[in-house]
Symmetry: C2
Subunit: 424 residues, 2 copies
């Protein structure tokens, strides 16, 4: 039964019960953290074989001594893995260091300051803009903010971004790009449908010539189940529509091997990759090829990577199941919030009733559960409806996660009921 159908007195009783719980949580002085999408210790340990895997053999398949300088593109075997990951031929992929965020910053700073073939974005007559699918990844948005690229919110729907709005926006020539996490989107966890991917592939024909889709396929192999849905290959469709130059594709092994010490992939058309390599030569002599070789030895191809990811899923799946069970038990048919049940990735996105997210996060903090600040899944930290809250279940041990979710549920209920009573 929906809680609102209860008599006011009963709701008031519930409110004091929730408030008591809340006080008890505060007294318990817990320190739980649901903020960031970090792998758990057990997940990291799955890659402990990396250190020492080389057994003194530092030579790559093409004879490169990985210990010395050079090799801007990355090693052939690492490029092969990136190529399978991103769905591209090897020559359209380069492999870099431990941070795909760095690659993304670099790509956008090239557009902003040096340009993609024409006038740099920041030197054009109209200031550049980017489309931000919301809710989305705060660090994507921060790059735009830092570079002075104005963001326009595009709502996320079940099958991907609102494409009508995207298509209308990209006709304005100052719109220079689009942030996408197409599979297990951060934080909503949904996957772009084949139709949406096809419409995204066509954007290059409607947008400015220096428009670039940032296709951050961070969770390409991060499935909770073996029979996970497939993401449609964007570049194949771009080739069909003649828009290959409109896209950069990104991936990394941060959540496959080691979060701080993985390797990252950048994909794009031959022209885009050639251009980016020219730029890169100004700021590096080459990536850490030794670590790339370690990765290629541990994960020789995508099949091996997917097999490795099954071990991750065994650790993460129960945590997601727990979170979803708690949400389901507490909020099903209760009109206190909504969420999507993701089939992979690192997040559960919870939408409270409008205007409640900040208060819920504040209450949770008080009760010892650190949450991603409300608003941080939106550009400039502003959630216009103040409702989105990102839950990151992977890092804490499952007992801590269970406690944290009990507290979270209590906070959602308390905030919602208090507001309801106040509005009576």
């Amino acid at each position: 039964m929906n809680w609102k159908n209860n008599p006011v007195e009963k709701i008031k009783d519930w409110e004091s019960e929730l408030a008591d719980n809340h006080q008890n949580f505060i007294k318990a002085g817990l320190k739980l953290d649901l903020t960031r999408g970090k792998p758990a210790i057990e997940q990291l340990a799955l890659a402990d074989g990396l250190d020492g895997i080389l057994q003194g053999n530092y030579l790559a398949s093409d004879g490169t001594d990985t210990r010395n300088y050079g090799g801007l593109t990355g090693l052939p075997e690492a490029r092969n893995l990136g190529a399978e990951w991103l769905g591209l031929p090897q020559e359209e992929v380069i492999v870099s260091g431990n941070s795909s965020l760095s690659l993304m910053y670099q790509v956008l700073h090239v557009g902003a300051h040096y340009g993609f073939g024409g006038t740099p974005w920041l030197q054009q007559s109209t200031p550049p803009e980017f489309l931000a699918i919301v809710p989305g990844y705060d660090r994507h948005f921060a790059i735009c903010e830092k570079l002075g690229i104005k963001m326009v919110n595009i709502p996320m729907k079940a099958d991907g971004p609102d494409m009508e709005m995207v298509e209308t926006q990209v006709r304005r020539p100052q719109v220079k790009g689009l942030w996408c996490v197409p599979k297990y989107s951060n934080p909503t966890g949904n996957i772009y449908s084949a139709e949406v991917v096809d419409r995204i592939a066509r954007l290059g024909n409607q947008a400015a010539s220096d428009f670039r889709i940032m296709w951050d396929n961070a969770y390409a192999v991060h499935d909770h189940h073996e029979d996970a849905p497939e993401l449609t290959n964007l570049m194949e469709l771009c080739r069909l529509h003649g828009t290959q130059d409109s896209v950069f594709l990104i991936g990394s092994t941060s959540k496959v091997t080691l979060a701080g010490a993985g390797i990252s992939f950048l994909g794009g058309s031959k022209a885009n990759i050639a251009h980016f390599l020219e730029e890169m030569a100004y700021w590096t002599i080459g990536p850490d090829k030794v670590n790339q070789l370690r990765h290629a030895r541990l994960l020789p191809d995508l099949a091996a990577t997917k097999k490795h990811m099954q071990k991750h899923a065994e650790i993460t799946r129960p945590k997601f199941e727990l979170v979803l069970k708690k949400l389901e038990e507490s909020f099903r048919d209760q009109e206190m919030g909504s969420w999507i049940s993701p089939e992979g990735g690192y997040f559960v996105s919870f939408d409270s009733l409008p205007g409640h997210a900040k208060e819920i996060v504040r209450l949770a903090g008080e009760a010892g559960v650190k949450m991603t600040p409300a608003g941080s899944t939106f550009p400039y930290g502003i959630d216009p409806e103040d409702k989105n809250i990102r839950l990151s279940p992977t890092f804490p041990p499952i007992e801590d996660l269970s406690k944290a979710m009990d507290i979270f549920v209590n906070c959602v209920q308390l905030a919602t009921i208090r507001r309801h009573l106040g509005e009576q």
Copy 2:
């Protein structure tokens, strides 16, 4: 006897002898490379202990799990090594990935686009300039060129840059910095004297408030002999003169452990480091801490690092001795060129007679010896006197180096004599 004192006929005979040699070199079809300062395979092998050194223990001294995200500053133990290297307290040093070039690009791109406390360099009314000590390191100059920072040449003298010229230049407020390789300068191999370091430390009091000295101490421990000269501590003098904010200090283990897979150090005042960390957060979640831990285990402090470098010296010293012996035997009192005998570092800088460098490099290329292009040790690739040639003896096996030097000597002699005869 100086060759010019010979009768013309004898010089002509010598010219044909040299030309014959040259033809024979061409026929031999050698492929030798003296271009870049790369460690030899035997040097790289000295660090083969790195892979596997962790023995499953990924925890840093402060309890950080190095495998996970975070830790922008780098690990405490790696910062300690960087602090000793750069001559700073630990809190004034951060440790990054495999490329100190990336750190230097990042520092300058912050100055250019975001500013050091004031208006970004590129948005000030007068376009920014940098002082380039010449000959110098091509990749330093390329960063300025890329960012649109105009360079002004400052001649290198035996004890460091021409400080009178530097002091005059920095009074112009558009001068925003100075590139220095203070120990075993690239390519000249000399060390800045204590007096020069002191005068550099004072520059911050005469220059614009957003002026930054780029103190690239790349060869801090790269001595050919144990009793190597010490470089004066710049930051201590800056503290004395109140100019701590005018300097960034840089180092890396690229030529200590692995050229492609080392760790890099950035030092500066607390204010400068705090500011840089704020900027860094836009483009990375943190450096590869696992590799930092490997390094700290192999090289727990500077004493261990210096001991490790003695093994390098045993490999590189004979190569430098060979190069210097060949130059000495061929050119002493011959007025065909001059050079400095470095006590460490990676280069021997050879100055031909003015106007000869390009031709010498061209001839060498013809004869199978690839050399750094003439001019590349100067901004914009322009050596105004066309005389400087950088020799990099470390990478080739000593037999190849010996052959390459014979060819080089022959090219210098041939180019010089031909020009002389042509001018008769």
